[in-house]
């Protein structure tokens, strides 16, 4: 086994995991506090990528673009909460799912109308575009290190928010319980809108960060949302800690599976069989993991206490 390659792939897995966490944390926040299932969360991620991309091309500065684009996705989230989500809180989860499914069609088509059918690639500033050699042979793109750093910083901030603030207390209490929230003297409508906006900003940030690697494209939201679901199912819906651990696990397993499973399979089957089986199994691996976790713990690894 090539340990340098393994190390590089672990870092890649970590980077994917942290991006997943950014998306999953918003989803789990919104569900934990608002009891709202937002399928369109992935579309907000996509919008983040497009807005970031446009601003980068406009301003010629990626970082400045991100700084401006994050609040813009927050505004988008705020708008969605005001116009749609708010009217669905009193309905059941089936209605949430269908309503936000409709929203996906609207947002994806809107993106298509604004930015066209092709994706937009995002140029990086020179100092981020290079590579770093961490040790002999282990060459990592500088930008991936940046994603890891940003991801860890945001994760730290969110875990602090959840564990040491009043908002966090509401989340941990499973504060879809509205009477309790209002008993604490909090304006629920504002709180809900702000939480929704925060979730949108997190998803948008993830989209902006990934765009320089994959380009901003219409289909990206639909792709990430399912993986995000797997993350929060494994972690326990509504749990920030669960979202973090679930995201890292999924990020690592998915990345390592895709790069090493064929070698693993070749140990006990023919090369051609391994070449067929490995992609198939690695495509299903995170779902098999999810099934295994659920078989033991139907509510995920860290189920929220009160529901």
């Amino acid at each position: 086994m090539d340990y340098t390659l393994l190390f590089v792939q672990v870092l890649n897995g970590l980077q994917l995991g942290l991006l997943l966490f950014l998306v999953a944390s918003g989803l789990t926040l919104v569900f934990g506090i608002l009891d709202f299932v937002n399928l369109a969360h992935g579309s907000i991620y996509m919008f983040g990528a497009f807005i970031g991309a446009s601003l980068t091309l406009l301003l010629g500065n990626f970082l400045l673009a991100v700084v401006i684009a994050v609040p813009l996705t927050g505004v988008l989230g705020y708008g969605i909460e005001r116009l749609l989500a708010r009217n669905l809180y009193d309905k059941d989860h089936l209605d949430h799912v269908l309503g936000s499914f409709g929203l996906i069609l609207v947002l994806d088509t809107a993106a298509h109308m604004i930015w066209g059918p092709a994706g937009i690639s995002v140029p990086l500033p020179a100092w981020l575009d290079g590579q770093v050699e961490l040790f002999a042979g282990a060459v990592i793109p500088t930008y991936r290190l940046l994603i890891i750093a940003v991801g860890l910083a945001v994760a730290g901030g969110l875990l602090w928010l959840v564990n040491y603030t009043k908002l966090g207390m509401l989340i941990r209490a499973g504060a879809s319980n509205r009477t309790m929230v209002s008993a604490l003297g909090i304006d629920i409508q504002t709180l809900f809108a702000l939480v929704f906006a925060l979730g949108a900003m997190l998803a948008g940030l993830a989209g902006m960060l990934i765009a320089p690697i994959t380009t901003a494209s219409i289909g990206m939201g639909g792709q990430i949302i399912i993986t995000t679901f797997v993350v929060i199912i494994i972690g326990g819906i509504g749990s920030m800690k669960g979202a973090f651990i679930g995201a890292i696990i999924i990020g690592l397993i998915d990345t390592l599976g895709r790069s090493f499973l064929d070698q693993l399979f070749e140990l006990f089957m023919s090369e051609s069989a391994a070449e067929t089986a490995a992609p198939a199994v690695s495509a299903m691996m995170i779902y098999i993991l999810m099934a295994a976790v659920l078989a033991v713990r139907p509510q995920g690894l860290f189920p929220p206490k009160v529901r």
Partner: protein, 321 residues
């Protein structure tokens, strides 16, 4: 009893229209509308199957398109091998074999994924069924033998006794009769003692368990029946389009299927048929006017969720409850 209700009339008129109009279109040289009707009727079978668990069993399955895909690949894979060689065990154009595979594999997939998914409730169930559906999607996407993402073209349709699926009208006839059978089967199951338990568990699981019902087992049984029925619709769809790809299983397809059921009216017999009819026709209409037809379509979807309780069939309901 005796007197036909409004819903009864709507059902009768709808089913007669579906029986009469498409052949009429064909005779008047508008073959396109027969194609449209065939797709509509096949998807209606899938919607009816979903309604069995969603409407009557309260199981919000968001991965039902996977069964359509499995059913379609049960036609495509044996036919592919029959044409190009390999996998002698199943390489065949025999429609009965395809049918057995479509139903058998869908039922098995439903049994395995259902056994795990049904341990959970509510949002978890929605997300897990969605994830398992995506699992099937990614599996077929990764299978280069069957062209992965690009999909398979079926060169020879399933060969069945008495019926020639290459004849559009015969294919439509089979699909229509299948839809009627699926509806009657669903009605039979729903009204049976099994169906009473299923609906009881939807309404109040705690009470049903207290009465001594292992509700998990009843739900799982319904899930498997529904999956098999949906797999059958995939068998028809594969033979209709003669082109199958993982895209048939994508979660957005499952979402559309779910929307058809809700739009028409869940837990009614004709609702899913009405829903898929309206869905397909509106889709067709919108896509004529603009490439951006998904936008008004999405808005319509949101509107239905916000304003139409009980779906379109709810509009025909008398006062009750």
């Amino acid at each position: 009893m005796g007197k036909i209700t409004k819903i009864g009339w709507v059902t009768a008129i709808g089913m007669v229209a579906l029986a009469v109009l498409p052949p009429f279109f064909l005779m008047t040289g508008q073959a396109f509308y027969l194609d449209l009707a065939t797709r509509l009727v096949i998807l209606a079978i899938a919607a009816v199957s979903l309604n069995l668990i969603l409407g009557f069993g309260g199981m919000v399955s968001f991965g039902h398109a996977a069964f359509i895909g499995l059913g379609a690949y049960a036609v495509g894979i044996p036919a592919h091998h029959a044409t190009w060689g390999g996998f002698d065990l199943i390489a065949s154009y025999n429609g009965l074999l395809h049918l057995a595979l479509a139903i058998g594999i869908s039922a098995l997939f439903a049994l395995i994924t259902g056994a795990i998914s049904l341990r959970t409730k509510g949002v978890y169930f929605i997300m897990i069924t969605m994830a398992f559906g995506q699992m099937a999607f990614f599996l077929f996407q990764s299978l280069d033998v069957y062209n992965g993402d690009d999909g398979l073209t079926i060169d020879v349709r399933s060969e069945l006794p008495w019926i020639n699926l290459d004849e559009p009208l015969q294919l439509y006839g089979l699909a229509y009769v299948s839809l009627v059978v699926a509806m009657l089967l669903t009605r039979m199951i729903v009204n049976s003692r099994f169906g009473m338990v299923l609906q009881g568990a939807k309404g109040n699981d705690e009470r049903m368990v207290t009465l001594g019902f292992n509700t998990y087992f009843y739900r799982l049984t319904a899930y498997v029946i529904s999956g098999a029925m949906c797999g059958y619709s995939g068998f028809l769809l594969g033979n209709f389009t003669t082109f199958i790809s993982p895209d048939m299983m994508h979660w957005t397809r499952s979402g559309e299927l779910m929307f058809m059921v809700i739009l028409g009216g869940a837990s009614t017999m004709f609702g899913p048929v009405l829903g898929s009819s309206v869905f397909i026709l509106v889709e067709e209409l919108f896509s004529h006017f603009t490439v951006f037809w998904h936008l008004p379509f999405g808005l319509m979807l949101i509107g239905v969720v916000l304003f139409i309780r009980g779906g379109l069939m709810g509009l025909f309901k008398g006062k009750r409850g």
